[in-house]
């Protein structure tokens, strides 16, 4: 596996299905599995649980592969687990497909697999099935991961955008922008002062805490690409709702605010990997807030009463009241976030 510099690297043969591939899987991936003997079988057999399951799939293509506060491995595992949590499901089982690029440093792969193992432990999930492929140099970006997750629904009531009701309150679980800025800074070689770490973290503990308090969660949504602006617009569109948001209530750290000012970015557009919006009945606002406030969360707005859903998809509005008591309509970003010129 050595190259002239002595660095061990992935070779095409590692995906060839022969003994080289077997050795790679045994050495690098076997320890991730809940039941390592499953590796020898074509499919994993799981016991059927009672009640409903949530099922979600995610592909991770992040560059750089390692960034402040995480890497592609922890991002894949935690991201998939968080998607399950947003459906009210306790994450349990994971599949893990890896697409390796010829030439990938084996030392780097080991670091990422170690991070996958750690993230699985944090999320309480185990890898049950997997796949390994190798593509030629130049045909992959070092490493792609694809993960699917299965979780058991932990609440009798559905958690879904269609369950949003007029008068509900909108809570945000923490501050904005850290993941997006950390990635952007490492991708473009920007030296942010102070440096920022991704907010990547499992969301299930916060969801469970809300459920333990008996909060009737109408809807949950994690803030990923597109940020808070995108999530609010999507949820408002789901029922042609009018969301009224208080800008001053949206937590943004000074470090994020300053970096955004310099780069010309909007913190509302930046991706998070450890934040979510919760929409709950107004009657339970105080209890829900107590749970989330302890984690840095705030109540940021309401679903305006008196407006009937049914205006068709895409008809929602997000109205932001600024700290100056003026209002604006907040729209999601259109595409790639690009730092401005001056």
């Amino acid at each position: 596996m050595n190259d002239p510099s002595g660095e061990e690297r992935i070779r095409l043969g590692h995906g060839g299905g022969g003994t080289l591939m077997r050795a790679l899987i045994d050495a690098e991936f076997r320890h991730l599995y809940a039941e390592p003997s499953q590796i020898l079988h074509d499919a994993t057999v799981l016991s059927a649980s009672e009640g409903a399951l949530a099922f979600s799939v995610d592909s991770s293509v992040v560059q750089p592969l390692q960034f402040p506060g995480g890497d592609i491995g922890s991002l894949a595992v935690i991201g998939t687990a968080n998607d399950l949590a947003m459906a009210g499901a306790r994450p349990q089982h994971l599949s893990l497909a890896v697409i390796l690029e010829e030439g990938l440093s084996l030392a780097l792969l080991r670091q990422i697999v170690a991070s996958i193992a750690q993230a699985c432990e944090r999320c309480g999930v185990s890898v049950e099935t997997g796949d390994t492929k190798v593509v030629e140099r130049g045909k992959g970006d070092g490493l792609f991961l694809s993960t699917s997750g299965l979780g058991v629904i932990a609440t009798p009531e559905p958690i879904h955008p269609r369950c949003i009701e007029a008068g509900d309150v909108i809570l945000l679980s923490g501050d904005l922008g850290r993941h997006g800025l950390a990635i952007l800074a490492s991708r473009h070689g920007l030296e942010l002062q102070p440096p920022l770490c991704s907010d990547l973290q499992p969301l299930w503990p916060a969801v469970q805490a809300l459920l333990d308090q008996g909060i009737r969660l109408h809807c949950l949504r994690d803030l990923t690409r597109g940020g808070l602006a995108m999530v609010l617009q999507e949820l408002a569109d789901a029922g042609s709702w009018r969301f009224e948001i208080k800008e001053a209530a949206v937590p943004i750290s000074e470090a994020v605010a300053n970096s955004c000012r310099i780069l010309g970015l909007d913190p509302w557009h930046l991706a998070c990997e450890g934040r979510f919006v919760a929409i709950v009945p107004a009657a339970q606002a105080a209890e829900a807030l107590a749970v989330l406030e302890a984690r840095g969360g705030r109540m940021i707005g309401v679903v305006a009463a008196g407006e009937q859903p049914g205006g068709g998809p895409g008809a929602g509005t997000v109205i932001v009241r600024t700290a100056l008591n003026t209002t604006r309509r907040q729209h999601p970003p259109s595409g790639e976030l690009l730092p401005r010129i001056c």
Binding site: L190, G264, D266, T322, R328, S334, G335, E336, R340, I341
Partner: protein, 375 residues
């Protein structure tokens, strides 16, 4: 129209103020400052969006160069999404540098011009072209790269310079026959580089209030109130409402870099037409860094044809800069608001912009779209 004529003509007690800087446009709309204007004041947006006013021949040349296999084209984020109308296309489609990248061109997003220099050092067999755009805020960094290029004898690094100067454009906006502007907010970050002397001379010549302002929400608001008071009293002249950053003399080191490397040229801004001394070009010994001098062979010579045709000074605006329906030129000159354009929010949206002001966050149309919504 003179300041006195405008005052005579306008309805009693109304005044139009323009913020020149696109960053301020963004702040004003995001914070809803236009909902809290001093009584009798109307606000109109200006041309201070660097990518919006970059001349089309420069963009054409950049796109042609990007398609040459030996070229790595480097520029800033917003510039990569500026649309170039496809000539004679019945569907009025446009292309941008990102779509060329998707088709295989080597287009790199940079955040500072030094990165282009690094790429040229790392890839000596490739020809690296830096598309350098922006006002006096970004021009000193380009000048520094030109100096370093010369010191390192880095012959595979070329500059395609389209820097613009803000004061000549402000003079044009105030002195044009159609101008109805009573006062201007001057871009504070440009003032922090070039100092206040040129702005002061402009305010006196044009007999209008000009107020320097920054980008945070309190800055434009403070400047708007100050211009309101000046208009009430019938004052003109320059006021600095951004003293925490803007010094009388500007930034001496940045000014020295500009003076060493660049000189004013007449330039046809996209949307505004020819502006006397409205652009900057490499001068003296630094001319050899100009892509038009250094890349004069093979495919790249053909790629530079649009620039060559226009001549060194780029003084003639192409006949057609935007699709028929797009009113980008009128928006950039403050003749109308984005919402007055028939394409705004319908056929022109951030996902498929017709004009450059819908592209950049500093573009007035994009800011309106984001904070007021379209359609």
């Amino acid at each position: 129209m003179s300041a006195a004529e405008i005052r005579r003509e306008r309805p009693q007690g109304t005044a139009t103020v323009m913020e020149v800087c696109g960053g301020q446009t963004h702040t004003i709309l995001r914070w809803g400052l236009d909902q809290r204007l001093p009584a009798g004041m109307a606000l109109i947006h200006g041309p201070g969006c660097p990518v919006c006013v970059t001349p089309l021949p420069v963009l054409e040349a950049a796109m042609a160069l990007a398609q040459c296999p030996e070229v790595i084209l480097c520029s800033y984020g917003d510039m990569l999404r500026v649309p170039l109308p496809v000539p004679a296309d019945p569907q009025q489609r446009s292309i941008d540098l990102l779509s060329l990248r998707a088709a295989g061109a080597d287009v790199r997003l940079i955040t500072q011009p030094q990165q282009a220099l690094q790429i040229a050092l790392q890839e000596p067999q490739r020809q690296v072209v830096l598309l350098a755009v922006g006002f006096e805020t970004t021009a000193p960094a380009t000048a520094l790269v030109a100096i370093q290029r010369r010191a390192l004898q880095l012959r595979n690094l070329h500059l395609l310079v389209a820097h613009v100067r803000v004061v000549p454009a402000m003079a044009r906006l105030l002195s044009s026959p159609e101008s109805r502007l009573d006062a201007l907010l001057a871009p504070g970050h440009v003032c922090s580089v070039i100092g206040l002397a040129e702005m002061e001379a402009l305010a006196h010549t044009c007999e209008r209030p000009v107020v320097g302002a920054g980008l945070s929400h309190s800055h434009p608001e403070r400047a708007l109130q100050l211009s309101g008071r000046m208009l009430e009293r019938g004052d003109h002249g320059l006021r600095n409402a951004y003293r925490e950053v803007v010094q009388e003399q500007g930034n001496p080191r940045a000014r020295a870099l500009l003076a060493e490397v660049l000189e004013p040229i007449d330039l046809a801004w996209r949307g505004l037409g020819l502006i006397e001394a409205g652009g900057l070009a490499l001068k003296g010994a630094y001319v050899e860094a100009d892509v038009r001098w250094g890349l004069d062979r093979g495919d790249t010579a053909a790629a530079l044809a649009p620039l060559k045709r226009q001549g060194q000074a780029l003084t003639r605006a192409p006949a057609k800069e935007e699709p028929e329906i797009c009113r980008a030129a009128a928006v950039l000159q403050g003749h109308c608001l984005p919402s007055d354009c028939p394409a705004f929010g319908s056929s022109c949206r951030p996902e498929h912009p017709l004009g450059a002001p819908m592209v950049s966050e500093e573009g007035a149309c994009a800011a309106w779209m984001q904070y007021r919504g379209g359609g």
